[in-house]
Amino acid sequence: MTNQEANEIILNIRNLKVRYETQDGIVKAVNGVDLTLRKKRTLGLVGETGAGKTTTALAIMRLVPNPPGVVECDKLEIGGQDILSLPEHKLEHVRGNDVSMIFQDPMTALNPVFTVGDQIAESLEIHEHLSVKDAKERAGDMLELVGIPRERANEYPHQFSGGMKQRVVIAIALACNPQLLLADEPTTALDVTIQAQVLELMNELKEKYDTSMIMITHDLGCVAEVCDEVAVMYAGRIVEEGTLEDVFNRTMHPYTEGLFNSLPNIKDRKAKLKPIKGLMPDPTNLPVGCSFAPRCNYATDACLIAQPQLRSISQTHRIACTAYDNPEFHIERRIL
């Protein structure tokens, strides 16, 4: 592999904004997100519920429901192709072919009236123009790949357990070898033993097919297991991003620190959990200043004035936090 290939950029997003215009107000779900993902890399997108992770992934697929969703973006490229200017019928060629998504809830992600085999075969028929018979054959291969006997291709989703449904959803997403895979909490609906199996499976498949991946999760353990890079999202913004080591071992943002402090510590079981106090701000009514300031232990008046911009700390590590204007500032991150 040449150096140039290694640096090939698969996903490039600049200033992504998504809002949902509902009757109760305008939900500002994503507020200016930049993301860059290189070939074969896996980015973990973490953040608590409502941070805008799913919405970001849907925006990449151009699948934010409209109404109520409105997407604004300066740049959205997948594998060098400009996705923003594509008309709907061209987008259909991109979806499932260049970029696929594994959805959050496997229980509802499959169509109950079609066999799982047909549901896997469908994208092969669309993108690789296979005959029904060949597509079925390949669908059987895909099932085996995710550890389900191919004979079960003729069964319906209701005949499958949750873990098997998740495997089917993965098989659908991988059927056409996409360059980019968006995995939206692929394991949260599963029990722990199955979780580990599915993660391992995804790691294997990623290696095998050179897929780049965005792994959306709020499970930091899962991030440590599969991700090369991490982006921490809060109230629709990225507050810290960097390599796995940057974010895990050289944590800088108070919110990221809070996330780690909310985890139980096995070495010191008597230590009290320190969950982040308070709740995420109402996305219909975000504060002018840093959205995390109301919950932040380090917040000063300066934090309430303006939204902090992402700044580079090192080649790979970036954070958005006003407190670092003071060169003396540091967080008291507990060492795991």
Binding site: T108, V113, E122, V169
Partner: protein
């Protein structure tokens, strides 16, 4: 699956027997003793007894019922008091007309309702949705005979495209089918819309879109198939109704179907014809119900799984 069908067919027998008994008992109570009216005012009691026996009206209700069922099994529904014709023959003569009208009516209804309902659901709260729903409301509230008369005025008398009535081949059936079909389409449109609205929210449509399925196929293949069950239910009820004959349309268009046969027979207190036609219609309706249940299984594998259990 076959065992389920067999079970359902066997269950038809008690249902039919029960319904036949009800019809039989009600007609017995409601119509009074027809022997006197047939015999005339100056018949002697002996003549009346002879006539009663000849008409098969002797014995208790139960005895007569059992005799009736015995005859029914041989395909004999008795003879009309009025025309003295074989009731089964008369019914079978009318049945094809009703079947033709019912079929075309349902084609018209479905042909209007499914596209309108889908459009309304896909463009919820838009002008297209409102238009569809207003059309459906008009269809629902417009009296059948009135629409029938309007259609006759315009298409028969003004344009001369279709006959005003009677049964002269396909052209005679068009206006009555549109008349009845329109009124049925109203409910069917609303059902399609609400069922589609339910399905359009489902996550699996997003999965389909994420696969690269075209929006048209997302709606027509993935969504519609899931929305079909309530639509088929309403369809089955409506189809059953029109199989009993669409009396108003048959009257307005002088269409010789089963509905008019029954209504005329009621007018003339022609009990064998009324009972016979109702029993036959019941049989048809139960068969349609069975077919509807089988279609459910065909559309939704989860229902099929229940049947085979």
């Amino acid at each position: 699956m076959y065992r389920y069908i067999l079970k359902r067919l066997l269950m038809l027998i008690p249902v039919l027997l029960g319904v036949a008994f009800l019809i039989f008992a009600i007609m017995d109570v409601a119509a009074g003793d027809p022997v006197y009216s047939v015999a005339g005012a100056d018949a002697t009691p002996e003549q009346i007894e002879v006539l009663r026996e000849k008409m098969g009206l002797n014995g208790s209700l139960i005895e007569r019922y059992i005799r009736y069922i015995g005859n029914l099994l041989r395909g004999d529904l008795g003879t009309s008091y009025i025309s003295k014709l074989d009731v089964m023959k008369v019914y079978l003569q009318r049945l094809p007309n009703t079947l033709k009208l019912a079929t075309l009516t349902m084609i018209v209804a479905v042909g209007m309702a499914i596209p309108l309902g889908i459009t309304a659901a896909v463009h919820q709260n838009s002008i297209r949705d409102t238009t569809s729903m207003v059309l459906a409301l008009i269809g629902l509230s417009m009296p059948n005979f009135w629409l029938g008369l309007l259609l006759i005025l315009f298409f028969s008398l003004r344009l001369g495209w279709f006959p005003t009535g009677g049964s002269e081949g396909f052209r005679s059936i068009v206006l009555p089918a549109i008349t009845v079909g329109t009124s049925l389409a109203a409910l069917l449109t609303r059902t399609t819309r609400s069922s589609m609205l339910d399905v359009l929210r489902q996550d699996y449509l997003r999965t389909a879109r994420a696969k690269g399925v075209s929006e048209r196929n997302v709606i027509q293949k993935h969504a519609l198939r899931n929305a079909l069950i309530p639509i088929i239910t309403i369809f089955g009820v409506q189809f059953s109704n029109v199989l009993g004959g669409s009396v108003l349309a048959e009257t307005v268009f002088a269409w010789p179907g089963v509905g008019r046969l029954v209504v005329d027979a009621i007018d003339q207190r022609d009990i064998p014809t009324v009972t016979g036609a109702l029993v036959m219609t019941t049989m048809l309706v139960t068969i349609v119900n069975l077919l509807v249940d089988l279609v459910y299984a065909f559309v939704d594998p989860r229902i099929k799984a229940q049947y085979t259990k």
